[in-house]
Symmetry: C2
């Protein structure tokens, strides 16, 4: 068939759907326009803000509240959460969102995910569990949403995915375009307080989002547009952002790259590195970005052996000759950014078999199946052994 | 100020707002999924279709109508227009759109512009003139819209701009995000019947949209992402699409490039080539794409003398060494695509001064002012003389 001979353009025949991309405003200080931005949402009279606790304590929430008040817009703040979102956080935020016209999320991926879900549950009055794992369709008219990320990694501001721990602690998700932002404000100034290790971990997560979206079985030209630019932006500036936290140009490029990577995964999802990082998360507390970076490095040499056109395109997007140069480039990037290859001490009590079991769990199969090279059971065991051989010194 | 020293990233401080991008589905045959796509718009019971006359006569409209009917969705077709849209066309289409839930536009830029305006006026019941030149705000809840372009040039499917001739024949516009598509279907198969000369003219228009958006005073990183890809896609495939109309890969790349170029101008607008082409349109009938290409070639050498970073970035995006290589590249591209440098015979009766007057008309100043090099009155006269010195042999 002619259409199979050409290149990835023709995968489009099956599917190239580039999902809608919200309006994105970017630049140092752009978040100071937040109150002005609220006024664009006609008739917004009551705003619910989900904000990381440390930001709320810094007085930022009150500052925004006072500025909104001057425009005759009332507001409430929910910041009573920490770590990855739990169902209780979603419920509390959703309850607060009832009666609001607009939800603003300011913070890391957790704050944004909580805000996005609250905008849906606040509109419908349903419990978040009603929508978990796509049990029921999301409301067609959720509250409008403005997302203001303060870390550069998850890309939650441009994705339709929202992760939380359910009533039994199991990782669940709520997915749907109804949870997507209407407006995104990307302000590098908000990211400068992020410590170097978190900057590196989040940045690697963003790079890997872009790489996996651009090279997995779902990859298509539309998403590669965003993914390649994300890879260029993050790879080109992450080390500078880690070494000089106040370098706004580097911060800005990593933040924009993370946002574009979010668009890429919103279109094409991830792959094997995320199978590993989600499996690790099922075993114990470990930063998602670090877990993903470790899983990526452990599998990349195996992956690039498949030598696909998409893998070579990704390599060339960041100035490499071909896919074979990727493993060395990535390990060097992690070195330059000071990423320590280690797991937390708590993982000492766990075996490679424990990790392999998690990697085979049903919820981690979509990422495994999306991987461009077939992941055999022997591969799973080999990757699990490689991961658990890391020093447990964190 | 530090932020002014760095590069165009920092123009973002002032403004990098990337407007929302609709979901885009792309691929040969994708338009066959139109009826399926309609079902995604919950509750759509009556659909109004704006379609080019020749497509309607080909039976495509009845085919879609019958398929919708099977899904218990009624439909009506408006195809009683030709050439660029006039106020009478907008009025007739808007009248038909009353009571519809969804508007589908299928055709060239005219069909799409009419459909987009009808979706707004059909929702509000207002006359199109109520919204012309931003006289009044557009309705916040327009009818939902699916756009299916059959030419690759205007980018209307992803822009918020809609052009028409007002009651006195003057070119007017209706602008606003409320007129933007919710879903775009890009099917290269629909473009293969476009004759070679129109393919070349429309493709040059798309290339110039991308180039001007990426290099004018409003250019920013967000729009350059789309603009550079658009330039690569169009420059790389336009000749093949002109020479072998059935080459679906080339057709697809030009169509996708045109769509990305639409996103770029939706963000940053155009520049001097469009001042000239709109001025020519004020003098007599001339295809917009050809007029733009002629205006572009006549001004490019003058433009690249300003040697900005954006101009050099644009040149490198298509594999050239620097901006100085652009004029030669563009003239050669036009040669390869068989673009005859000539105006219609009717222009014989007009002088360079006539064109210069049109170029100085208030409605053509925004594009002139957006041009990265200052356009003096002497420049206007020189460009007008150069344009009117073209043979009048079309």
């Amino acid at each position: 068939m002619q259409t199979m001979r050409i290149n990835s353009l023709w995968r489009c025949r099956v599917k190239l759907s580039t999902s809608f991309v919200p309006e994105i405003q970017f630049g140092p200080g752009i978040s100071k326009g937040l109150v002005h931005a609220v006024r664009r949402f006609d008739g917004a009279r009551h705003v619910m803000i989900v904000m990381d606790g440390f930001l709320a304590r810094s007085g930022l929430g009150e500052e925004i509240g006072a500025a909104l008040d001057q425009k005759a817009v009332t507001s409430g703040i929910y910041s009573d959460f920490s770590g990855e979102p739990k169902i209780a956080h979603l419920r509390a935020a959703s309850h607060m969102a009832r009666g609001a016209d607009l939800v603003i999320g300011i913070g890391g991926g957790s704050a944004l995910d909580i805000a996005k879900v609250a905008a849906c549950c606040g509109a419908s009055g349903e419990d978040p569990m009603f929508y978990a794992l796509a049990a029921n369709p999301l409301p067609k008219n959720p509250l409008r949403k403005i997302m203001v990320p303060t870390t550069a990694g998850t890309g939650s501001e441009t994705s339709a995915t929202n992760i939380f721990a359910g009533p039994e602690g199991k990782k669940l998700w709520i997915w749907g375009p109804e949870t997507k932002a209407d407006l995104v404000l990307l302000d590098p100034e908000l990211t400068i307080s992020l410590p170097p290790n978190l900057t590196a971990w989040c940045g690697m997560d963003a790079f890997i989002h872009a790489f996996e979206a651009a090279t997995n079985r779902n990859a298509h030209m539309g998403a590669k547009l965003y993914a390649h630019e994300a890879m260029r932006l993050v790879a080109g500036s992450l080390e500078a952002a880690v070494r000089a936290p106040g370098n706004l140009e580097a911060r800005g490029k990593v933040l924009l790259g993370s946002c574009y990577a979010g668009i890429a995964i919103d279109n094409c999802g991830t792959a094997i590195a995320h199978t590993i990082s989600h499996a690790l998360a099922g075993l114990g507390p470990l930063h998602h970005g670090l877990a993903t970076a470790l899983g990526f490095e452990a599998t990349l040499e195996w992956l690039v052996d498949s030598d696909t056109a998409d893998l070579n395109d990704a390599a060339r997007a960041i100035g490499l000759e071909d896919a074979g140069a990727l493993p060395g480039f990535v390990s060097e990037l992690m070195d330059r950014c000071g990423v320590e290859r280690a797991l937390p001490k708590a993982f000492d009590a766990l075996s490679a078999e424990d990790l392999a079991v998690e990697m085979r769990a049903p919820e981690n199969q979509p990422m495994r199946r999306a991987t461009v090279r077939d992941v055999s059971d022997a591969d799973i065991d080999a990757f699990a052994a490689k991961m658990m051989a890391l020093p447990k010194t964190l």
